[in-house]
Amino acid sequence: MSISLEEVRHVAKLARLELSEQEMVALRSELNALLGLFSEIESLDFDAIEGQSHAVSLQNVWADDIPEEPLDRTAALQNSALARAGLFVVPTIIED
């Protein structure tokens, strides 16, 4: 199993990562090395073993519906490069 440059381009787009051609080529070869590592898992048949997404059995943990002090708005905005009128300024979303 090996990955093409087109597939790297596609995945980078999905992951919202703008990469240079050089980076994509380097990434492709590292990915292929890792896929070589994964080939053993790919070929195994675990029958009906249930996969688990967590090491431990966790059920939905609910918080009590009790109002508490939220994070202060100024504090919440203080790390944004652009904030205005108590809001985060988001880069323009353009319709294609």
Binding site: M1, I3, E7, V8, V11, A12, K13, L14, A15, R16, L17, E18, L19, E23, A26, L27, E30, L31, A33, L34, G36, L37, F38, E40, I41, E42, L44, F46, I49, E50, G51, Q52, S53, H54, A55, V56, L58, V61, A63, L71, D72, A75, A76, Q78, N79, S80, A81, L82, F88, V90, P91, T92, I93, I94
Partner: protein, 481 residues
């Protein structure tokens, strides 16, 4: 001298009035000023801040408050949120980010009278095993400045090993506390998954991450663990039980059944590590431990399983870094370009590689072949280990298959570096508790012994480790002036 004392001894000295928190802080701050830059261990350090905290601890002591970590300087890995103190995860995408809140573990440290003593360097977003992927420079191993301290908690490990701080916090997703602890000759403890709150830890692999103490002795690790662990309502994966509270005086090796895996012995190890490990086992046997070899074939799948699951989780967790709510923003013509450009330019190479791997194995057409399979492999591994742990007190192995390697040595072969996580990954896969303790030197470099216990057996694990520590050869201090 305060810098020669263990954390537990320092706390006792402060509680009894023999030392003041200010004296302790000054002693360590002087060492940081002298050696900090050489090691690259800290990303942020402010002696005046630390002294101000020391003075407020003195006031609390004078008012009669009982403080279990009175005046103890604790260095904190820079992926753990500290209110008012920059937290960068060693990444340019968080350059200038100052959290408006403390992680629960930091809150608990402060409430116990400890002093946040700088933020330590790490592999970017905790992704790495050598502390070479930090955007702000590598960390150097105090035992040999041309060598890596291991990763990703390399800064914390180097700081404690070089006595720049008596204790530190690290985080462990695939071995990031235990492996650098081994390479730097200190103790590194990863609690059972869920016993230590992850609230405020910048998430990498949410089902794998745990915060834990990095210290000079097991007693010190237990002291910190007791202060920071225990249920936290702010962490939905937090186990509903109290803090880890071992009784180290109960620790004994007599009659303890210790299993060592075939797959983590012999050829899997560098010869010097294999020798040290065998000698360590002999010492444990001489003290009455019953050693037995077991085969855990799932270990052979550990690295591939981890490098499918961890990047997958990371690709989701790191989606939040888009330059909008925190961190620098790079402009682009429109939302998608701005976000992609910010991430492309400000994330480092290893982080981008892992995000791409993670996105790939989760994408349509590949999910079944990789991610779903890896989840099954995880179940197989956990069951296999639980089966062995039902018949023994702990699984013992080296914490790393090598001693500290040269900086740059592993860059040519990224897969080889990942293979070094072989000994440590299973504990994260299964949520087990595990720690690394020094077991001697090999060619002048520290070797770490790992003990791994069943979930929720943290107390028993620490007690056994304390007994083992007493009979294993101490590594002493690195040859630093």
């Amino acid at each position: 001298m305060p810098v020669d004392r263990t954390a537990a001894a320092l706390v006792r000295d402060v509680q009894s009035g023999q030392l003041t928190p200010s004296e302790v802080v000054r002693a360590y701050a002087e060492r940081v000023a002298r050696l900090g830059d050489r090691l690259g261990a800290f990303l942020w350090f402010d002696a005046e801040e630390a002294l101000a905290e020391a003075r407020s601890v003195e006031e609390r002591l004078a008012a009669g408050e009982c403080l279990p970590l009175a005046g103890l300087p604790v260095a904190v890995k820079d992926n753990i949120s500290t209110r008012g103190i920059p937290t960068t995860c060693a990444s340019r995408i968080l350059e200038g980010y100052v959290p408006p809140f403390d992680a629960t573990v930091v809150e608990r440290l402060r409430s116990a009278g400890a002093i946040v003593f700088g933020k330590t360097n790490l592999d970017e977003f905790a992704m790495g095993g050598s502390n070479e992927t930090s955007a702000f420079g590598p960390v150097r191993n105090p035992w040999d400045l041309e060598r890596s301290p291991g990763g990703s908690s390399g800064g914390s490990a180097a700081a404690v090993a070089a006595r720049l701080a008596p204790a530190a916090l690290g985080s462990d997703t695939g071995g990031s506390i235990r492996m650098p602890a081994a390479l730097c000759g200190i103790v590194g403890f990863k609690p059972t998954y869920g016993r230590c709150s992850r609230y405020g830890l910048v998430a990498f692999g949410s089902s794998l991450d745990q915060i834990g103490p990095m210290t000079r002795t097991v007693e010190d690790a237990a002291l910190l663990a007791e202060a920071i662990t225990g249920h936290d309502p702010k962490d939905g994966t937090s186990v509903a039980c109290g803090p880890i509270r071992p009784d180290l005086s109960q620790g004994t090796l007599r009659g303890k059944r210790l299993a060592y895996p075939t797959e983590l012995a012999g050829e899997a190890l560098h010869p010097a590590v294999a020798r040290s490990f065998e000698q360590a086992l002999e010492r444990l046997r001489a003290e009455g431990a019953e050693l037995g070899e077991v085969s855990l074939p799932s270990i052979r799948l550990a690295v591939s399983t981890y490098y499918i699951l961890a990047p997958a989780e990371a690709s989701s967790n790191l989606a939040r870094f888009d330059g909008v709510r925190f961190g620098p923003r790079i402009e682009g013509s429109g939302h998608v370009e701005a976000v992609a450009r910010t991430r492309g330019r400000l994330f480092g190479h290893e982080v981008k590689t892992r995000i791409v791997v993670g996105t790939y194995v989760l994408s349509a057409g590949y999910y079944e072949a990789y991610y779903a399979k890896a989840q099954q492999a995880r179940t197989v591994m956990r069951r296999e280990f639980l089966d062995v742990l039902a018949r023994c007190d702990a699984i013992v192995s080296p914490a790393a298959p090598v001693t500290a390697f040269r900086l740059g040595e592993m860059s040519a072969d990224p897969v080889a570096l990942k293979m070094l996580d072989l000994c440590t990954i299973p504990a994260n896969m299964g949520g087990f508790c595990a720690l690394s303790i020094p077991c001697g030197l090999a060619d002048g470099l520290p070797v770490g012994l790992q003990l791994l216990g069943a979930p929720m057996q943290d107390e028993a694990l620490l007690e056994t480790a304390h007994a083992a520590e007493r009979v294993l050869p101490p590594v002493g201090d690195p040859p630093l002036n």
